[in-house]
């Protein structure tokens, strides 16, 4: 095939001959096979997404109407809407964010700006473990600590469970985004005699704010779609609950879960409608986040 190794430069065959000899046709076939297999695998990955989108949009669009957005459900499958779930999701996610955003952002700041290498690794590890805990377990913990003692399913317990899901996401993205802020910028602050906490708040955080916000938005989207942590905390409710965090509250995932399980067509349809709403929200957040980072790269 190719020239023997160690052949002296003077005794080599002409360049064109050697080129022809090394150009193995077998290798090119393998390249093509590999390429095709990889492409097939990629298609298989995309099909479910397309199927979910298509299915939810078609089924959901049929159920989407003004009632769905503005009315609470009526007695067993006689119409009404998902207002209880929409308002419930908004409130519980908002309360969860109110807790998780400051904790998560400050935690990320700690890891990136203040922690020694060892404690940074410890916090990072903790956050990763928490992020990997199945969400039903987080629900059980919230149930044990915040439902059982009061003998009452309540929305606050649901919010706490959602916050626990959001915190590690926010800690990790905040840390990673702040670490992307150039060291020169921090040093510019220090060199002006600015105290550390001020450098962090006024120089580092603003410089990394887009990334931090991205993390927050992704965490919100994630929490909005969680079902398991709410099953035995907020429980769900067919009543519109505004501000009563000591009482059960509905949420879109619970509404979907409950509606889809009933052998009643009208409820199934409402569930599809709610599914479309949830999908639009989660997808909307994700697209918004991507669009921001694309816009930034282009700009």
């Amino acid at each position: 095939m190719s020239a023997t190794p160690g052949t002296l430069a003077g005794s080599r065959a002409p360049f064109a001959e050697r080129l022809a000899a090394v150009r193995g046709s077998r290798r090119r076939t393998m390249d093509r096979v590999m390429r095709t297999v990889a492409l097939a695998a990629a298609v298989v990955c995309v099909i479910p997404l397309a199927a979910i989108l298509l299915f939810v949009v078609i089924k959901g669009a049929a159920a989407l109407n003004l009632d769905l957005l503005t009315k609470p459900p009526k007695a067993l499958g006689t119409g009404g809407g998902a207002l209880n779930a929409i308002l419930g999701s908004l409130q519980m996610v908002a309360l969860a964010a109110l807790v998780a955003v400051p904790v998560g952002v400050l935690g990320g700041i700690y890891v990136s700006e203040f922690a020694s290498r060892r404690s940074a690794r410890a916090v990072r590890f903790g956050a990763d473990v928490l992020a990997g805990v199945p969400s039903i377990l987080i629900g059980i913990v919230a149930y044990t600590l915040l439902v059982l003692p009061f003998k009452q399913f309540n929305a606050a317990a649901g919010s706490v469970a959602l916050a626990l899901i959001m915190v590690p996401v926010i800690v990790r993205t905040t840390e990673e985004m702040l670490r992307l802020v150039p060291r020169e910028l921090r040093e510019a602050g220090y060199a002006l005699g600015v105290p550390t906490w001020r450098v962090v708040l006024s120089v580092v955080l603003p410089a990394g704010r887009t990334g931090v916000l991205t993390g927050v938005m992704l965490a919100v989207a994630r929490a909005a779609g969680e079902t398991a942590p709410l099953l035995f905390t907020a429980l769900g409710s067919r009543l519109v609950n505004v501000g009563e965090f000591g009482q059960p509250m509905d949420a879109l995932p619970l509404f979907i879960y409950n509606g889809a399980r009933q052998p009643i067509t009208a409820l199934n349809e409402q569930a599809w409608g709610a599914a479309l709403l949830l999908l639009l929200f989660v997808l909307g957040v994700n697209v918004a986040v991507r669009a921001r980072s694309w816009g930034r790269r282009a700009g």
Partner: protein, 295 residues
């Protein structure tokens, strides 16, 4: 070049000690007018050793940096010039495992003494970095005002005036006065570097450290920075690290030549009047470096 020594009116000098061993005394041949000038020493380094963990980056540096002049530090890359410079405003200690031995005095005050707070020190010892680093989320105005706004002290009432004065001093005012609200990063590289100089001036430092401030700039922008340095000379003690020897000879009064030992630790080979160092150095090593034979 006549050496003008103008005492700062706004800040009384704490201790102005005559140099115990004037840098000029160590120079064999020197111009007569320099011998006549009553030079005071601003910064004294005594047996300074700087470490990163167990690695010694700077070894046994003893040198006197005169007040209100420009002192250039030259030497091959990696010989600890930046490390030395960053020890002067205690930025060095922010690196992991960073440590120092020896003494560093500014106007006779030991800046590594317990009672000296590094944050306070840095208001009097400003710095300009290799790459222009204006705060990207702040306007041109905000960048200049940042030291005063974020420094924790009382906000001066005449901030507008200070900003204008500093931008004028940094030879940038005319170019930016109509868009002070634009982001600092919207300026060209050379303008950004002058903005960073204006930002450093705003907190009214006495010493300005410059770490290769023109190395990322084109020749024309470089020239403007050099002109600016000569403007500031006389009011500030400027210490500039540069690997551009023409630059050192153009702008500086004193030149310190650093080199690296077998153990990779940087040390001061010699220091003296710039003209002397460039025309008649004491050490063979200096001559070799300056004539481009190594480094």
């Amino acid at each position: 070049m006549a050496i003008e020594i103008r005492p700062r009116e706004d800040q009384p000098v704490v201790t102005t000690r005559p140099t115990t061993e004037p840098a000029s005394a160590r120079v064999p041949t020197r111009a007569p007018e320099q011998a006549a000038a009553a030079r005071t020493t601003k910064i004294e380094a005594r047996d300074l050793n700087l470490y990163y963990g167990s690695f010694r980056a700077v070894r046994d540096v003893t040198m006197d940096i005169p007040a209100n002049e420009i002192t250039a530090i030259i030497g091959p890359s990696g010989c600890g010039k930046s490390t030395f410079l960053r020890s002067l405003n205690r930025l060095h200690e922010l690196a992991h495992g960073a440590r120092m031995e020896g003494r560093l005095l500014i106007d006779g005050v030991d800046i590594y003494e317990r009672s000296v707070d590094a944050v306070d020190l840095r208001r009097l010892v400003g710095m300009v970095f290799q790459r222009p680093n204006p705060f990207p989320t702040m306007s041109i105005y905000g960048n200049v005002a940042s030291g005063l706004r974020l420094g924790g002290g009382p906000k001066p009432a005449d901030l507008d005036e200070i900003v204008e004065r500093c931008l004028t001093r940094a030879a940038l005012w005319d170019e930016v006065k109509d868009h002070l609200g634009a982001p600092g990063t919207s300026l060209s590289g050379g303008q950004q570097q002058r903005l960073c100089i204006a930002r450093a001036l705003a907190v009214d430092p006495e010493v300005i450290l410059m770490d290769e401030p023109a190395s990322s700039l084109d020749p024309i922008a470089t020239l403007r920075i050099e002109e600016l340095m000569l403007e500031l000379r006389g009011s500030y003690t400027i210490v500039i690290v540069t690997h551009n020897m023409q630059q050192a000879s153009r702008v500086s009064d004193q030149t310190a030549f650093f080199s690296m030992g077998e153990d990779r630790a940087g040390y001061l080979v010699e220091m003296g009047q710039t003209t002397t160092i460039f025309t008649n150095p004491r050490e063979q090593l200096t001559e070799d470096y300056i004539s481009g034979r190594f480094g």
